[in-house]
C-alpha cells in the first residue's frame, strides 16, 4: 500500500485521464437521457485529448519556439537542446482530434434533435416504450 501512493502521485496525469475516461464511459452506458450520454461521450473524447497533451510535456521545458532564432545575439551560438522544449507533435495531433470530436458532438446533437422532434422525448426508456408499441 505504501508503494502505491508514490506511484499514483508520480504518474498522476495518467490516473486523471483514466478517471475522466471512466466517468465518460459510465455516463454513456448508465445514463438514461440521450443528451447526458452525448455529454459523456464528449468527456470520454476529452480524456484522450488530455492524455495526448500530457505525454508531450517535459519537466522544466518551454514552448517549442526556438529562442532568439530570428536575429538574436547568440542565435547561432546557442545549441538547441530538444530537452528544453516540449514535444509539439502530440498537441498538433490533438488539434485534428478536437475537430473530429466537435464534428461527432455536432452530429450526435443533430440526431438528438431529430429524435426529439419525432418522439417528443429524450429519455431512453420512454423511447424504447414508444418503439415497442409499433
Amino acid at each position: 500500500m505504501t508503494d502505491l501512493l508514490p506511484l499514483i502521485v508520480a504518474k498522476y496525469n495518467y490516473w486523471l485521464y483514466v478517471i475522466l475516461m471512466m466517468i465518460g464511459l459510465y455516463a454513456m452506458i448508465a445514463k438514461n437521457n440521450l443528451i447526458k450520454k452525448v455529454v459523456g461521450m464528449n468527456i470520454f473524447q476529452t480524456a484522450i485529448i488530455l492524455f495526448y497533451v500530457s505525454i508531450g510535456y517535459k519537466k522544466d521545458a518551454t514552448l517549442p519556439i526556438i529562442q532568439n532564432a530570428h536575429g538574436g545575439q547568440d542565435a547561432h551560438a546557442a545549441v538547441i537542446h530538444a530537452i528544453d522544449y516540449i514535444n509539439p507533435l502530440p498537441h498538433v495531433l490533438m488539434l485534428t482530434a478536437i475537430v473530429v470530436s466537435v464534428a461527432t458532438f455536432g452530429v450526435a446533437m443533430a440526431l438528438a434533435v431529430r429524435i426529439y422532434q419525432r418522439y417528443q422525448t429524450l429519455e431512453e426508456d420512454e423511447l424504447r416504450m414508444r418503439l415497442s408499441e409499433k
Binding site: F44, I48, F51, T96, T104, I115, R118
Partner: protein, 494 residues
C-alpha cells in the same frame, strides 16, 4: 503517372466538393459529378494494382515530405487489391443507386451523393495510408459519414439507430486513438514502417502490449466482432438501401483489412504469436462469433436484419483466420475480405432490388418473388450459394483455406464452427427460397387452393445489370481464386 495512389483518394473528395457546389446551379448535376469522381478512382486503383504487381510496393509521399515526418501512402499488394475492390464496389453501387435514391430519399438526393463520396474517400484513405494517426482521422471520416447516412434512412428508427451507432463508434475510434498514443510514447513515430522498425527492439515492453490490445479492441468494435457487434444490425437495416448496399460489404471488411495491416506491418506476426494464449483465445472468440451470428440470423424475420447477422458471422471467419497464426489461415482471411465483400454486395444488390419493388423485406412478404423478379432472384441465389460455400462460387475457396488453416493449427472447434455455420446458412437461405418460390395463396378461393397469377415486375435495368455483373463476378473470382492467391496473397505474405 506517379500520382495514381493519391488520385484514388482525392478524386472522390474533390467530386464531393464540386457536386456540393453544383447543387447551387443545378441539382441534377451532382450525380454525374459523383459518378466521374468514383470512375477516376476505379481507374487509378486499377493502374496502381498493375503497377504494384509488376514493380513492387509504391511509396507516395504527401507533398514530398519524407517519412517519418510526412504522411506516406504505402501501397503494396494487399492494399492495391482492397483499393480496387472498394473503389469498384463504390462505383457500381452508385450506378445502381440512381433509381433507388430517387425513390427512397427523393428530397435529399444531392446530399446523399455528397456524403456518399465522402464515405468513399474515407474508406479509400483508410486503405491507402501508411500513417497511424492519418488512419484514425480517416476512420472517423468514414464513421461520421455513415452516422449521417444511417440517419437519412428509416425516418422512424433511423436517428435512434444512428445515435447508438455514434456512441459505440466513438468508443471504438477512441480506443484506437489511445493505442496509437501509447505506440507514440514508445516509438516517437507514427509512420507504420518506421514504428515497425523501432518496435523490433521493444518486444518486451508492456506499453507496446497495451497499445496493441487497445488498437485491436478499437478495431473489433468498429468491425462488429462478436461481443461488440450490437450496433451493427440496427444501423445497417435502418439505413437507406443505397447506402446499406455499400456499407455492409465495405465498412467491416476495410476494418478487417486494417487489423491485418496492423498485425502484419506494424506489430509483426512474430510478436503477436509469441504467446499462444492470446491467439487461442481470439480463435475461440471467433468460433463463438460464427455460431452466434449464424443462430441469430436464423432467428430473424426481416431479410435485412438476417443479412446483418450473417455479416457478424463472416467477421468471425476473417478474424479467426487472421489469428490462426499460419499462412493458410491468413490467406483464407485475406481472400475472404475479397470474396465476402463481393458476395455481401451481390446479396444486398438483390435485396435493394426487392426493396425497390416491395418497399419492405419482411420474410413473409416475399412470396412468389421467383416469378415476379426472376433476374433479381437469380442474383440472390448465386450470392446465397456463395455465402453457403457451394464450390464454383468464390465463398467456397476462402472457407477451404480457413478450414485447412484451422486443421494445421489444430483448432478443430473453429473448423467445426465454420461447417456448422455453413449448414445453418444453407437452412436459412433455402427457407427464403422456399418462401420466394411459391406464389401467394389467395385466401378467398375456398376449398380449392388456387394460385393468384404472377405478373413479372422487375427492378430498373441499371440495377439489374449491376446485380447481374456482380453475381457473375462471384463465379469468375471463384474460378480464378488460385490465380489471385498466387499473384497477390502469397507474394504479399512472403
Amino acid at each position: 503517372m506517379d500520382n495514381y495512389p493519391v488520385l484514388i483518394v482525392v478524386a472522390p473528395l474533390l467530386a464531393a466538393l464540386f457536386s456540393g457546389l453544383a447543387v447551387w446551379i443545378e441539382e441534377r448535376l451532382s450525380y454525374p459529378i459523383a459518378l466521374t469522381g468514383l470512375a477516376i478512382s476505379v481507374f487509378s486503383a486499377f493502374n496502381v494494382l498493375l503497377q504494384v504487381i509488376t514493380s513492387g510496393p509504391i511509396q507516395y509521399r504527401m507533398a514530398g515530405w519524407a517519412p517519418p515526418m510526412g504522411i506516406e501512402y504505402r501501397i503494396d499488394l494487399l492494399n492495391a487489391m482492397v483499393l480496387l475492390l472498394v473503389s469498384s464496389i463504390g462505383f457500381l453501387n452508385l450506378v445502381a443507386s440512381y433509381k433507388s435514391v430517387k425513390q427512397e430519399i427523393y428530397d435529399r438526393a444531392p446530399s446523399f451523393y455528397i456524403v456518399y463520396l465522402l464515405f468513399m474517400t474515407g474508406l479509400l484513405g483508410v486503405t491507402a495510408t501508411g500513417d497511424l494517426f492519418n488512419l484514425y482521422v480517416l476512420i472517423e471520416i468514414t464513421s461520421l459519414t455513415s452516422y449521417a447516412m444511417v440517419a437519412l434512412g428509416d425516418r422512424d428508427r433511423g436517428p435512434l439507430a444512428s445515435l447508438n451507432y455514434v456512441f459505440i463508434g466513438v468508443i471504438g475510434a477512441s480506443f484506437y486513438l489511445l493505442g496509437v498514443g501509447y505506440l507514440y510514447m514508445q516509438t516517437g513515430s507514427l509512420n507504420m514502417a518506421d514504428v515497425a522498425h523501432i518496435l523490433q527492439s521493444h518486444q518486451e515492453s508492456s506499453i507496446v502490449l497495451t497499445a496493441f490490445i487497445l488498437c485491436i479492441i478499437g478495431l473489433w468494435i468498429k468491425m462488429a466482432f462478436f461481443p461488440m457487434h450490437v450496433w451493427l444490425p440496427n444501423a445497417y437495416s435502418y439505413s437507406p438501401v443505397a447506402f446499406a448496399r455499400v456499407v455492409a460489404p465495405l465498412m467491416t471488411k476495410v476494418m478487417v483489412y486494417v487489423m491485418i495491416r496492423l498485425m502484419i506491418t506494424v506489430f509483426g506476426l512474430d510478436y503477436i504469436f509469441k504467446s499462444p494464449f492470446l491467439a487461442d483465445a481470439v480463435v475461440w472468440l471467433a468460433s463463438i462469433a460464427i455460431i452466434f451470428g449464424a443462430v441469430m440470423a436464423l432467428a430473424q424475420k426481416n431479410l435485412k436484419k438476417m443479412l446483418a447477422y450473417i455479416i457478424v458471422c463472416e467477421i468471425g471467419y476473417m478474424v479467426g483466420g487472421a489469428w490462426m497464426g499460419n499462412q493458410l489461415g491468413m490467406t483464407g482471411a485475406i481472400l475472404h475480405i475479397l470474396n465476402d465483400a463481393l458476395m455481401t454486395f451481390a446479396m444486398f444488390l438483390a435485396v435493394g432490388n426487392i426493396v425497390y419493388k416491395l418497399k419492405d423485406v419482411e420474410l413473409f412478404n416475399l412470396t412468389g418473388l421467383f416469378g415476379k423478379m426472376p433476374w433479381t432472384m437469380a442474383g440472390f441465389v448465386l450470392a446465397a450459394f456463395s455465402i453457403i460455400g457451394v464450390p464454383p462460387t468464390c465463398g467456397f475457396f476462402s472457407k477451404w483455406y480457413l478450414i485447412l488453416g484451422a486443421f494445421e493449427k489444430g483448432a478443430y472447434h473453429f473448423a467445426a464452427a465454420l461447417v456448422i455455420s455453413s449448414l445453418i446458412c444453407a437452412v436459412l437461405f433455402f427457407r427464403v427460397f422456399e418462401i420466394c418460390f411459391f406464389p401467394p395463396i389467395s385466401e378467398d378461393s375456398g376449398h380449392k387452393k388456387s394460385h393468384s397469377p404472377v405478373v413479372m415486375a422487375e427492378a430498373p435495368v441499371s440495377m439489374l445489370i449491376v446485380s447481374g455483373l456482380v453475381s457473375l463476378s462471384l463465379i469468375v473470382v471463384g474460378l480464378y481464386s488460385g490465380t489471385i492467391v498466387n499473384t497477390i496473397i502469397i507474394p504479399f505474405l512472403k
